[in-house]
Amino acid sequence: MGRKLLLEHINVPGINTFDVYRSKGGYRSVEKALKQLSPEEVVEEVKKSGLRGRGGAGFPTGMKWGFLAKPEGVARYLVCNADESEPGTFKDRYLMTYIPHLLIEGMIVGSYALGAKTSYIYVRGEMMPQIRILEKAIAEAKAAGFLGKNILGTGYDLELYVQPGGGAYICGEETALLESLEGKRGNPRIKPPFPAIAGLYGCPTVVNNVESIAAVVPIINDGGEEYAKIGIGRSTGTKLISAGGNLAKPGVYEIDLGLPVEEFLYSDEYCGGIANGKRLKAVVAGGSSVPILPANLFLKTAAGEGRLMSYESLADGGFATGTMMGSGGFIAFDEDQCIVRNTWNFARFYHHESCGQCSPCREGTGWMEKVLHRLEMGHGSMSDMDLLVDVSKKIEGNTICPLGDAAAWPVASAIRHFRDEFEWHVSHAGEAVTRNYGLAHYADPLPAPVQAAQ
């Protein structure tokens, strides 16, 4: 049974209210940080914890905080990225809905550590109910003296506001988010300068995911070293996994990083296996933009080792045979799902969400969508697969922000691992519109790893 650092009290009735949250030890980290620790010591604890950004990139949070410029007389900002939009990911919605004070608590500690006097939580506009929940939680925390002027008599002032987005995936990219928060279109900025130097209103800014900020609470309560004891290698702590698709028990699970993938997928404590007793065909492990893997390569690495839910193990084999932890948006595909159709769906998503600023992404995502659509509809040709790979390579790395990469990877990986299914859509065009390719060999045990040359 894994530890629960974030979701320990999630089932306590009324935990969304200040009083119940407080009675369960809530806001202890604010008392500890503001009364016993200097801002630098808070940053140090987060560095020691090894916490890596939970939004998808996996960049060490403490290091990001350490980069913040601190020029005299210039405001600094902490902005929470709650624009959760990566298909497959719904952990932040869950956390904000059921235990909003955990995020508020983390925001206060984080803002103190960074010297921010005003902080914003940028929530995607569709999450209007969660915006109301957070606003209520902020009002409660303020009434109890944890926000506003002279917090807990320490002389530290902080105002915290919730900002709604307008329904644009791109605003999950931190510089697009800042543009949006300034009331503009969500066009990512060219970096450098990084937000740590020039972010919101040109001031030094840190942008962190909801889960990263929430994780600061147990890190300060128990100490960074204790947090770092959980997990494996450079994957420390616990991680929220959004489990969706064809699972018996979809939902949000908090796991110790390093949990075997097989246990996560099949044990009753977590996903409980594939829905309706079907077999697993493929998995997207970290949100729609990470490479899709067939069941056999997902469960075991190319070297034949059981995969773990950790940054390193999921990435084992690079893009040739591995994938990424990403945001923890775990999507399972059963034997009846069509990889071509799903790849087309994702390509349409990225085309729709491209901000249009960079030509390779704006045009390339559109072409990938069109070519995938004709393949799915039975009008494709055998050269389309190479064409798609070619287009994806011309997008990847050639754009201001990572949306281009995010659009290219799912297409390239689907063709890499499921090429025969794509080819079948061409050779059996009529049949492909009425039935799916099925499981084929995608769950078969892989041949033993190639031995060193005899």
Partner: protein, 175 residues
């Protein structure tokens, strides 16, 4: 003036209650950074009028002391803002991968048939419109749909639960 599909140019007035809310939002940002209030204000305008018309955008620009084009470019960039009138209940169904794995396409077909209007159209009684939208971050509870302006969420949809929802909304509108 912005060219939009709907050329309705009926002037709008903002009530004091509405501009009071605008002022509260503007107070969240530093002096001179009132443009930050644009997205939240557009949400309030849409909640009030059901969509965001060109005259309403001009009014917002006037209020925030920015150029009208700064409002148009934002309102047209973000998909949540409706550039033409919708049904009283605008059903937005998630159509992205994870929801499709659990039947979102069937749900959209069913809604189209049930309401008798295509995506983006409004029913003759003015009560309903619907459209597919991209991932709503509820992938474990799909298929899902939302209805503004409060963005109430309906999860694990079936054809039957959609029928029930539509009947309930009709009853609500008639009372």
């Amino acid at each position: 003036m912005l060219r939009v599909e709907n050329t309705e140019m009926v002037p709008v007035e903002f009530s004091t209650a509405l501009t009071d809310q605008f002022a509260d939002i503007v107070s969240r940002y530093p002096e001179g950074k009132q443009k930050s209030a644009l997205l939240p204000i557009l949400h309030l305008v849409q909640a009030e009028f059901g969509w965001v018309s060109a005259p309403a955008m001009d009014k917002v620009a006037e209020y925030l002391k920015i150029q009208p084009v700064e409002v148009y470019e934002v309102a047209t960039f973000y998909t949540m803002y409706f550039m033409r009138p919708q049904g009283k209940y605008a059903l937005e169904v998630c159509r992205t991968g994870p929801c499709c794995l659990v039947g979102a396409e069937t749900i959209m077909d069913h809604i189209e048939q049930k309401l008798g209007v295509k995506e983006g159209e409004v029913t003759a009684d003015g009560l309903f419109s619907w459209r597919g939208v991209e991932c709503l971050a509820a992938c474990g509870f799909g298929p899902v749909l939302q209805i503004g302006p409060e963005y109430t969420f309906y999860e694990k949809l079936t054809n039957e639960s959609v029928d029930q929802l539509i009947e309930d909304l009709k009853a609500k509108a008639n009372n």
